[in-house]
C-alpha cells in the first residue's frame, strides 16, 4: 500500500463525511499525497415515460445540481483542507456507491477514506449501505471512519 501518493475521499456534505475528510487530510499531509474529494450528485429520478409536461427540465436541473455541487465542494475544500495539500474536487452524477467504485477504478488511489454513515439512513441501526458496498467492491483498501464522535 505504501508509499501513499493518492487518496480518494467521497463526501456527501454530512457531518460524518467531514470526519472522514479530516482523516483523509491528515493522511494526505503526512504522506504528502494528492487528495481527491469526490461528491456524487444523485440522478434525478425519471420514469420510463416522462410526464408530458414535466415541471422541471430534468437534464437542465441535473446540470444545475452538479454546478451547485461543484461550488459547494470547492468551498468545502477551501474550508476544511489545508492549503499545503494538493487537493482536487470531483463532481459526478449517478448512484453514489457505483460511482465511487468507478472513480476508484480510474484514479487508482492507494486507499479510499469514507464515513461509515452519511446523510441518509438511520445511523444507529444500519451500517451505511454506501460504505458497505464500497468496502465490498473497491479496488483498493478502504479506511472507514466512524460517524459518531468516538470520544463521546
Amino acid at each position: 500500500m505504501l508509499p501513499v501518493t493518492n487518496i480518494l475521499c467521497p463526501i456527501d456534505f454530512s457531518e460524518s463525511s467531514y470526519k472522514a475528510l479530516e482523516v483523509a487530510e491528515e493522511m494526505a499531509v503526512h504522506f504528502n499525497a494528492k487528495l481527491t474529494v469526490l461528491h456524487v450528485v444523485q440522478d434525478i429520478p425519471v420514469l420510463p415515460a416522462l410526464p408530458t409536461n414535466p415541471s422541471i427540465d430534468v437534464p437542465e436541473y441535473q446540470e444545475k445540481l452538479e454546478e451547485a455541487g461543484k461550488i459547494a465542494l470547492d468551498m468545502t475544500i477551501t474550508d476544511k483542507v489545508s492549503s499545503i495539500v494538493e487537493a482536487q474536487s470531483l463532481i459526478k452524477s449517478g448512484r453514489p456507491a457505483d460511482v465511487i467504485i468507478e472513480v476508484a477504478d480510474e484514479l487508482k488511489p492507494n486507499f479510499l477514506v469514507i464515513s461509515t454513515h452519511g446523510e441518509s439512513g438511520v445511523t444507529h441501526f444500519m451500517f451505511g449501505s454506501v460504505a458497505e458496498k464500497v468496502i465490498r467492491h473497491a479496488p483498493c483498501p478502504v479506511l472507514t471512519v466512524q460517524a459518531e464522535d468516538t470520544k463521546s
Binding site: 500500500m1 468496502i135 465490498r136
Partner: protein, 149 residues
C-alpha cells in the same frame, strides 16, 4: 488519527487475512507503531448432558488450540513482518467479531486493519460478516483490505 502508535490486525490464518497483515506490517514499519496480531479461537461447543466423553478433554483441546495459534502467529511474525516492527500475538476465545471489538476497546489502537473476508463464508456474495460487524462497532478507523484474487 495520527500519529499511529498501535495497530490491531485480526487474522484467521486465511490467505486474505495474511494480505491484510502484510499491509498492517507495512504501516507499522512506516509509523514505528506496535503491531498487535489477534487470533480468536472459536469456542468449542459442549455436547449437552456430558462434560467429558471418554477420551475428549475439551478444555485441554481448547488450550492446545490457543497454544498452537500463539506459536503460529509467532512464526508468521518471523516470516512476514518487517524486521524492527514490535509485533506480538494476542489469542482470545469466543465469537470473532465480539472478541475483536473487545480487544480493540482494551488495546486502544489508532487503527484496525482487517480483511473483508476470511476463511468462512461465500466470498463473492456476502461481505464478510465479521469485518462488517467490526467496521460498524469498533471506535477507531478500520482499514478494510480486499483480497487480491
Amino acid at each position: 488519527m495520527l500519529p499511529i502508535k498501535k495497530i490491531l490486525c485480526p487474522i484467521d490464518f486465511s490467505e486474505p487475512s495474511y494480505q491484510a497483515l502484510d499491509i498492517a506490517g507495512e504501516l507499522a514499519a512506516h509509523f514505528g507503531a506496535r503491531l498487535v496480531i489477534l487470533h480468536v479461537v472459536a469456542e468449542i461447543p459442549y455436547l449437552s448432558g456430558s462434560t467429558t466423553i471418554t477420551g475428549l478433554d475439551i478444555p485441554k483441546y481448547q488450550k492446545q488450540l490457543e497454544e498452537i495459534s500463539f506459536q503460529k502467529i509467532s512464526e508468521i511474525i518471523d516470516n512476514r513482518i518487517p524486521k524492527g516492527v514490535e509485533a506480538h500475538p494476542v489469542i482470545t476465545v469466543g465469537k470473532a467479531a465480539d472478541e475483536i471489538i473487545s480487544v480493540s476497546d482494551e488495546q486502544k489502537p489508532e487503527i484496525v486493519v482487517i480483511a473483508t473476508h476470511g476463511e468462512t463464508g461465500v466470498r463473492h456474495l456476502v461481505f464478510g460478516s465479521v469485518a462488517e460487524k467490526v467496521v460498524r462497532h469498533v471506535r477507531v478507523p478500520v482499514l478494510t483490505v480486499r483480497a487480491k484474487e
